[in-house]
Amino acid sequence: MCGIAGVVYKDKKLHPVGDDLTKMLDALQHRGPDSAGLAIYGGLGLKENEYLLNIEVKEKHGLLEAVKETVNTATPIKKEEIIPSVENYMIYRCKIGLDSFSELKPLIMDIDKIDDVIVLNGAHSFEMIKDVGLVKDIAARYDTTSKMGTHGIGHTRFSTESLVDRYHAHPFQSYIIPDITVVHNGQITNYWKIRDPLERKGHIFETNNDTECIVHYIADKLSEGYKLEEALEESVKDMDGPFSYIVGTPNGVGIAKDQLGLRPGVMAENNEVFAIASEEVSLREVMDTHDIDQIAPGETRSYTI
């Protein structure tokens, strides 16, 4: 099944988005117990061309040092933190500076060459937290409830085809343009028809997960000048299968639902908050749900700040 959620504060100020999304996802826990994740935008406060890397590292002698050496060879590590995870893995989180965004993906690919190491993400304007297990456990591990932001998206996963691990936990991120994320409930059944043209354009796929296909598709459209709403509308025309997914960008979130309406999506909005989720029980965590809208088959909704 999977559960998806997104929230935007319309005043562009910092709010407890981490706490909101944690509650929204916990309310959707019944939709998937495998992994969970959040992308919290607006609260990192990084300077221009600074990035935060989240790197999964196996607890093995000398491995963390090898990771640090690879990063330091490219650019000095400015700040670092280790977050213990489960199954003999830790998350090494470090802040770095680069001359331009175009250097980020090559650096990530260099780090990924180290055995038992994988970069979960690298971001400038949002904080990615994703791990295996239940929402409450992950929230405690990463202190998600203290995270502030302007908006964010989240996911709780019931895996279907691809692996259950941190990397395949949602959100997925694209590096075609900075800081585009996607959480997804469903399947893209014409996956290769979507992936092929994107690869021919030079976009790099790291997995065979259909959610990665969506995030690259949307990022590609945005890079061509489409607005978020337009990119979502195009995706509904181009993609087959049962799906509803939420896109996060540095200035908003949006949802798209397949043309047969085979996956759920509801939204509610007031003067302060725009919220979307798989079910009403999730929306209730952030606002009064007297007036909720069902996202119709083939419909898209978005809010940008």
């Binding site: 309406g261 759920p264 009403e280 029980v281 209730r284 007036d291 909720i292 809208d293 069902q294 119709a296």
Partner: protein, 229 residues
């Protein structure tokens, strides 16, 4: 009248339903407080009891009920009253997809908008929607009636086999095997009887604006109409 109150807060659906079914034997009226859009509330309730869900319900509220009268004071998720055989489910707010899916009897009344596939594969009973109804309303409907006071989206009556869909507003498009028919006096009499019963007070002009969607053929896919079973 004897009343029993259940607090659903922090309880799993199985426990809430166990309490409902137990109370339904001894009480006339049950009120479920703090439902918090919980799924499966009142699933399989077969006592003729009055049940108030004081808030929103999640998916499959009142699925497979037989004889109970359920009142949901806020919204409902997907498939409220699914496979109901007799009784009543009244929803004061909006509802998701598949309202009244597969009902055999009874009445589902939603005061505001509903999602897609309202009344899919229903075989009898009545569904009333105070607002709009989405994509493929009456999908593969095999009997009963759906009454929509607002508009219906694309492919209304898709593959309808029997029954009728009454629409006061606009019909965006018809599905396969569906056609628009005129209402006769019996249709209007039925509408005028049932709608006020659920709090929908319409003018004569409103009643005159209803359209009726019915099947073109009872055997649209294979076989002959004379073989209709």
């Amino acid at each position: 009248m004897s009343e029993f109150i259940i607090n659903a807060e922090n309880q799993p659906p199985r426990e809430v339903n166990r309490e409902i079914k137990k109370a339904a034997v001894d009480y006339d009226r049950i009120v479920v407080k703090n439902p918090n859009a919980m799924h499966y509330i009142a699933a399989g309730l077969i006592e003729p009891v009055e049940l108030v869900i004081d808030g929103s319900a999640g998916y499959f509220a009142g699925t497979m009920v037989d004889g109970a009268k359920i009142h949901i004071t806020e919204n409902a998720g997907w498939f409220p009253a699914d496979n109901m055989t007799a009784g009543e489910v009244v929803i004061d707010g909006s509802a998701g997809d598949g309202v009244g899916q597969g009902i055999y009897g009874g009445t589902v009344a939603v005061k505001r908008d509903v999602g897609s596939r309202t009344g899919e594969i229903m075989k009898g009973g009545t569904i009333i929607v105070g607002g709009n109804s989405g994509f493929m309303t009456g999908l593969f409907m095999m009997g009963g009636r759906i009454i929509i006071l607002g508009d219906v989206s694309e492919d209304a009556g898709e593959s309808i086999i029997r029954g009728a869909i009454y629409v006061r507003g606009t019909v965006e498009s018809l599905g396969k095997n569906a056609k628009i028919d005129n209402l006769d006096d019996d249709d209007l009499k039925e509408l005028k009887e049932v709608l006020p019963e659920y709090g929908f007070d319409l003018s004569e002009e409103d009643y005159e604006s209803f359209k009726k969607i019915v099947p073109r053929s009872n055997r649209p896919f294979y076989g002959k109409e004379s073989e209709e079973g």
